[in-house]
Subunit: 258 residues, 2 copies
């Protein structure tokens, strides 16, 4: 059964009753990526987010050890309210649990970053149908801006857009800085290092019909690509596609900046 | 003699030939506040900027010790290219030099933050005359969001706007996140703790004619109010009103977010 409200979804996730992706539901609400690193990596990662605002649009950053974060109008427990998590030790993925309470520690710094699921609702209302499944996500060859030791390629999400709607899709998503904003690439996947569009690194390939162009947006999976090679002793993230869903809509968060 | 280009202005400042405010000149270009703190305060201050994006819109943050910063299309030496600086030791203002080269150290982390001078050009083009002098700046009682030990009241800049133009002034400035965005307050100064409008804490009071309303924007002088009480061993800033002038216009920087 689909939840009726974001609050209900977060409670279901916290009870272990919602363990699946969050695309295609509550699609007008701000969704968020999660990254948790230890204090010693937090400065470089915050700087990485600031230097790459389209990749990592900051919604909230906790103090060290703080797991309850106020995000817009919502108080969130980042240890439980996402459907699924990933944990790395020394750069190796070691677990994909549904709850982080056993894994939390006092030096953990939590980052919530905007997610492109967020603008699926505005795109649909603008007459641009997008899949209700998690978008296809690829590791591109577009370099992120370096911050301290952190750097590497940008992950991108792809939505097929009819050629007559590309300007509209650009203008709609440009309004939503907290949803990764406007696209980073149109057309030829090989121009950004993607050799086989039908084989995404994450998510579901939706096919590409005649007249449709693959359009790519910066993706919040990027930290899961650029951080593990640094072999931090410990780090966590959400499981791709399994996002935190907030109570406020994406307009609310984009207005915070203005 | 007024400089013809921002590059010329920065070179004049670096040679000690431009030591005055930067309001009312090159008024379509992004101007910037400067804050420099030691590495040990940099995490909290970066977090403060992220949590208070209207007060401290981040344009660039250096690595520790880095004094040449790429900002948009411009490479800037933050030690020389502003007209004037302020230096605090243990929370006391100790010097207001025209050059920081003698004062730089290897743990210094430089932050460039957007400035509201930036939208004076767009306001004028929208039919809203604003002063060519540095705007009046007040220490309000609006609280900033806390980050670690950093918190305190928001400094605000004031421009008198005719009552018929308030919506236009709001809409124009809301477009420019890198210029502090839309106003934080309209009308009664006492509502935000300002008891005498004619006595600003910084800048020049422009008067308030019949039919005009005082409109307040968040101001990048705020770090100079909230940081010294923490008595950091060493910190620097620009001298109020004496800003870094960049080559790109404010549209360019606001587009970076989208």
């Amino acid at each position: 059964m689909n939840p009726l409200t974001a609050s209900e979804l977060r409670q279901m996730a916290a009870r272990g009753e919602w363990c699946k992706p969050t695309a295609g539901i509550l699609d007008d609400l701000q969704q968020a990526n999660l990254v948790i690193v230890s204090r010693d990596l937090a400065w470089d990662f915050l700087l990485f987010c600031v230097r790459n605002p389209k990749v990592c649009p900051l919604l909230a950053v906790g103090e060290p050890g703080e797991y309850q974060l106020q995000v817009g109008h919502t108080l969130v427990d980042v240890r439980t309210m996402l459907p699924r998590y990933r944990i790395w030790k020394a750069g190796s993925l070691v677990a994909e649990p549904y709850d982080l309470r056993q894994h939390w520690h006092e030096n953990a710094v939590a980052f919530l970053l905007g997610c492109s699921h967020t603008f699926d609702g505005p795109l649909r209302r603008a007459g641009i149908p997008v899949s209700h499944e998690a978008p296809a996500v690829y590791i591109s060859n577009i370099p992120c801006k370096q911050a301290g030791n952190i750097g590497g390629p940008m992950a991108v999400s792809m939505r097929p857009i009819h050629h007559s709607k590309i300007a509209t899709a650009t203008a709609v998503t440009a309004r939503y800085a907290s949803g990764h904003g406007m696209p980073v690439h149109y057309g030829s996947p090989e121009d950004i290092g993607i050799t086989d569009l039908s084989q995404p690194d994450f998510g579901v390939y939706p096919g590409l019909e005649e007249g449709y162009v693959p359009v790519f947006w910066a993706c919040g999976v990027t930290p899961q690509i650029v951080l593990p090679p640094l072999k931090p002793e410990w780090m966590c993230s959400h499981y791709p596609g399994h996002m935190l869903v907030l109570d406020d809509n994406v307009d609310f968060f984009s207005l915070q900046q203005t």
